[in-house]
């Protein structure tokens, strides 16, 4: 168990890292006590997107599959939550709607992924196909304004978006404000830990081997297509989780959260953070979302210009990601200092021993 948490695929190991992790978690847990409810609500809003980023990190950083379709599955699940919650009548059924909509997104990923992976699509074309699917969905939903576009009692409403679904509810208790915040934090911890264990497991070994050299991995007896499909379904399912949470959080969803430039956002977060590490993605995505929302209050366009600039700068200057680069630097410094101390300690004992002799 601990071996899986601290395995070779993830940076950030050992007691120091986990102490920091617990400190951050503790701070996150007591945060609502000190903040006002508006800020807590906003904080939950940032956390919604983190799942999508972690999913892309798994597919792109670990699996070598750059999917531009995160918002595709986000949209499928987001709309599915709306349709289900409206038709199933709110209340505790919203929890079932959440679970079902994520499953629907995963089934969609399974179908799309099956045709792409068994069809031998990889590299840049994987991106193009997923992007096309995304744009088609956005375009399709955009023209569903008429009253004839409805599923059960849920109107799709074209560009104005679907609304009127209940947020997550248990009995009569709406999960919102601090309660929603705690649910989000718990989900993120679970997903983060689960993904760490996945990438450090045998399956994770094969996933990174497939990224490095699919033919070689197949020559070791692994059906790499199955591992790629698994990666794609999990990564896309996480985008679905973001989508369903998003719809339940704001009680509406529009096609604009699927099409361009929304589709570019997860890529910016993950590229900037450092796609090859889950922790870097977690931290970086959160920082970017925070910054993005802060600027959006003044100017949406300016925020998007900044995102574009960050993407360009990352590709040109730090293809491995800025957060990861800084993180590595810090760890390097830290271990070097520690090692330096250890070395002098060894020298010390050596001297003592020779004294005794």
């Amino acid at each position: 168990m601990f071996k899986l948490l601290d395995g070779p695929q993830t940076l950030g190991r050992g007691r120091t890292f986990w102490s920091c992790f617990l400190a951050v978690l503790a701070a996150a847990l007591i945060y609502p006590v000190f903040a006002d409810s508006y800020d807590v609500g906003n904080f939950s809003y940032f956390l919604i997107w983190v799942f999508m980023a972690l999913g892309l990190c798994l597919m792109w950083g670990y699996g070598g599959m750059l999917s531009f379709g995160q918002t595709f599955f986000f949209g499928i699940s987001g709309y599915a939550y709306g349709v289900l919650a409206i038709n199933m009548g709110g209340g505790t059924a919203t929890i079932a709607a959440l679970v079902l909509s994520v499953i629907i997104a995963m089934i969609a990923a399974g179908i799309l992924g099956y045709f792409m992976i068994w069809g031998g699509i990889s590299g840049i074309f994987f991106g193009i196909v997923t992007l096309s699917a995304t744009l088609v969905l956005a375009f399709f939903l955009g023209q569903t304004a008429g009253p004839e576009w409805h599923i059960g009692t849920a109107r799709l409403n074209g560009f104005n978006g679907m609304k009127g679904m209940d947020p997550l509810t248990i009995g009569d208790f709406y999960i919102e404000g601090s309660a929603l915040y705690y649910v989000m934090v718990a989900l993120i911890v679970i997903v983060y830990i689960a993904l760490r264990m996945l990438v450090n497991s045998r399956i994770g070994n094969v996933i990174v081997a497939t990224r490095e050299n699919p033919q070689r991995a197949e020559m070791l007896g692994y059906d790499v297509r199955k591992y790629q499909l698994l990666t794609f379904v999990i990564g896309s399912g996480l985008a679905g989780l973001s989508g369903a949470l998003y719809t339940s959080w704001g009680q509406f969803i529009t096609p604009s959260s699927i099409g361009l430039p929304a589709a570019a956002m997860p890529i910016v977060w993950v590229a900037f953070s450092g796609r090859s590490d889950l922790t870097a993605t977690l931290v970086g995505s959160f920082l970017l979302l925070f910054g993005f929302q802060t600027i959006t209050v003044y100017s949406q366009q300016a925020a998007l210009v900044l995102m574009g600039t960050l993407l360009l700068a990352t590709v040109m200057l730090a293809p491995q990601g800025f957060v990861l680069g800084v993180g590595k630097l810090v760890v390097d410094r830290w271990t070097r200092r520690r090692r330096g101390d250890a070395n002098s300690a060894v020298a010390e004992t050596g001297r003592l021993q020779s004294d005794e002799a």
């Binding site: 070994n205 033919q215 070689r216 197949e218 020559m219 007896g221 790499v224």
Partner: protein
Amino acid sequence: MTLVDVKGVTKRFGGLTAVSDVDLTVNAGEVHCLIGPNGAGKSTLFKLIVGLYPPTKGSIFFDSIDITEERPFARVQRGMSIKMQAPSVFKELPVRQNIQIALQARFSGAERDVEEERLLTLLDLASESGKLAGALSHGQQQWLEIGMALALQPQLLLLDEPTAGMSPEETFKTGELIKSFNAEGMTVLVVEHDMAFVRQIAQRVTVLHLGKIFARGSLETIIQDEKVAEIYLGKTHAH
């Protein structure tokens, strides 16, 4: 007992017939070398046996099971293990993890750890185990890949020019390594054109020329076959 049985296999690429109606048998427990001049179709035949190409005609049996339609991973699961010509290790991963990825299919837990150390020592890579595989020298990468192929504990080890780019000493060491595994019962099929290396390890030899079987037999008979020397070294040498 016949372990690999290639029956009447032909492979065409457009108008070019790379392998034409070839029969090849590899017996269990032998070191079999597939030799021939450049362009003889050795590598194509190798890829057909491995499953990278589907044959145009003919069928391939492994352990009496028809594997003609199977993908490479399924053949590996049946007990083959493959090392391709160009070194293709997982370059961005540490040496140790390369070995682990290969080992985890057959071993788990403490057994895997023991086997991991044994292989690293055997391959002289113990001191390099933390390095990225891409940072190893060419010869070391070849060794690492042979090690990964061995980690699967195969019935049949398939090697395509395993000593390409190695120094004479490394080549000799590789030969001894292959022989030691053969002594433990592993069947080995090697594609090779370095005759010194073939002499060192081969028990039986099949000569391929222009996509067809040219000669086959024990190492001694092939070495003494003048026609083989002819196609290898040109007619002027034979006179």
